[in-house]
Amino acid sequence: MKAFGDIWRSNLFQKWLMAITGLFLVLFLLGHLSGNLLVFLGQAHINEYAHGLRTMGHGAVLWGARIGLLTFFILHVASAITLSRRNRQARPQKYARVEARSSTLASRTMLYSGLLLITYVLYHLAHFTWGAVHAQHYAQATFILPSGELVPDVYTMVVKSFSEPLITVLYLLSMVMVGLHLNHAIASAFQTLGVTNRRIVPLVRTIGPALSILIALGFSAVPLAIILGLVKI
């Protein structure tokens, strides 16, 4: 029997790790997206939702989720770096000519789209969570919920942010990157986890890319609506 360490270090286990963590991150994105779309229901809905997230279980749930998310994220990135390094080493001498047959732009650029997404996530956190950039949109606004509680006004913050074309363009470009990454990632994760077979391969290979487009469009909907003036304060 093999020791767990040997299994952990193996390429296939690292891939499995990447796939599992990746799928959890996709689930998170779906949750995040459904929250975002509350913007369209109006100021009260989204502010109430954001307040609920922060106070659920006296904040323990939010922190639990954050720690879990961070762990998945680190594992996902770490396995990606490990595997990419090994994959490079596996072909020390490149071909003079290569003609791809079945790989796609998305599949060939996973490392790059992934690295850009890390940068984006840091920016995004600095923007909305830490308030370290564009802070003028962040700290001041407050909102009184129908219950009478005074809470941060997420709605105003979002709308004011995306009223600036530069920020909107940055976010939209990032969403293209998300779409590109997921375009290959979702179907690929299913294959790596081995849940595909002859019958469902075509299904997975259709649903994966379709879902990636939906997610990217969904996230883009909010900034687009704001810059087009469909959502305003």
Binding site: M1, K2, D6, I7, R9, S10, N11, L12, F13, Q14, K15, W16, L83, R86, N87, Q89, A90, R91, P92, Q93, K94, Y95, A96, R97, V98, E99, A100, R101, S102, S103, T104, S107, R108, M110, H184, A187, S188, Q191, T192, L193, G194, V195, T196, N197, R198, V201
Partner: protein, 249 residues
């Protein structure tokens, strides 16, 4: 037809190697690709030069010995065709053709287009078999095997071990080769007893040999001269995880 060939020349494993250009005239469209190289080699010998070393044997697409990357594709432009079965009618007068060896750390170049694929043998040694000594067997019809299972096993077992999957993979991964053997034996009742340890040991040996990991581009499937499906890779992934979690491997 007249062709311009750019062929990888490398005198030995430690030589750096480079692409060299050769012009070849009067190539018949009925020649196989390897026969075209034979003709080139006879010309080189006549000129007192060293002929191009390339691996080949059966020349009917089954032994898996031949293999070269032709214009960026292992075994050349046709799907499901080995280099020896590729005929010059696929090319046209005036074409430039790039010919390179399989490129992978686990397939070191021995000379020109010849690589060492011993790593494949060592993967098989880790479990690509049923442990049955000669004489152990019961009557062949004792265990009925449904036609779909038998056919599926055959689909996987059709692998010729040529290495095109590794050559095509951007990561030089041997997943399709290894999965084909695991999938073949996992499809049959005979292969069940060692299924778990087989998946574990063969997968770990791929890493030891220095093959890369799979990123699901499916270039292997597209390059495979026997059309082996990447579905078998999914099955191997499943068997590997089951083995890792089941603690039997």
């Amino acid at each position: 037809m007249n062709l311009r060939l750019h062929i990888w020349r490398q005198a030995g494993p430690n030589d750096t190697g480079m692409l060299k250009t050769y012009d070849l005239a009067n190539v018949s469209e009925h020649m196989s690709f390897l026969e075209m190289l034979d003709v080139l080699n006879e010309e080189l010998i006549a000129k007192g030069e060293i002929p191009v070393a390339f691996d080949h044997d059966c020349r009917e697409g089954i032994c898996g010995t031949c293999g070269m990357v032709i214009n960026g594709r292992p075994h050349g432009p046709l799907a499901r065709t080995t280099a020896c079965q590729l005929h010059m009618r696929t090319f046209k007068d005036g074409d430039e053709i790039y010919i390179e060896p399989w490129r992978a750390k686990a397939f070191p170049v021995l000379r020109d287009l010849v690589v060492d694929r011993g790593s494949f043998d060592r993967i098989i040694q880790k479990g690509g078999f049923v442990s049955v000594n000669t004489g152990n067997a019961q009557d062949g019809n004792t265990i009925p095997i449904g036609k779909p299972d038998a056919d599926r096993a055959m689909d996987a077992a059709a692998c010729i071990g040529c290495g095109a999957c590794v050559a095509a993979c951007p990561n030089s991964s041997a997943m399709l080769f290894t999965a084909a053997k695991i999938g073949h034996l996992a499809s049959l009742p005979q292969g069940q007893a060692e299924r778990s340890s087989r998946a574990m040991n063969m997968v770990l040996q791929m890493d030891t040999e220095g093959f890369g990991a799979c990123t699901n581009h499916y270039e292997c499937e597209a390059a495979c001269p026997k059309g082996i499906s990447a579905e078998f890779i999914a099955q191997m992934n499943r068997d590997f995880v089951a083995s890792a979690l089941g603690g039997k491997g």
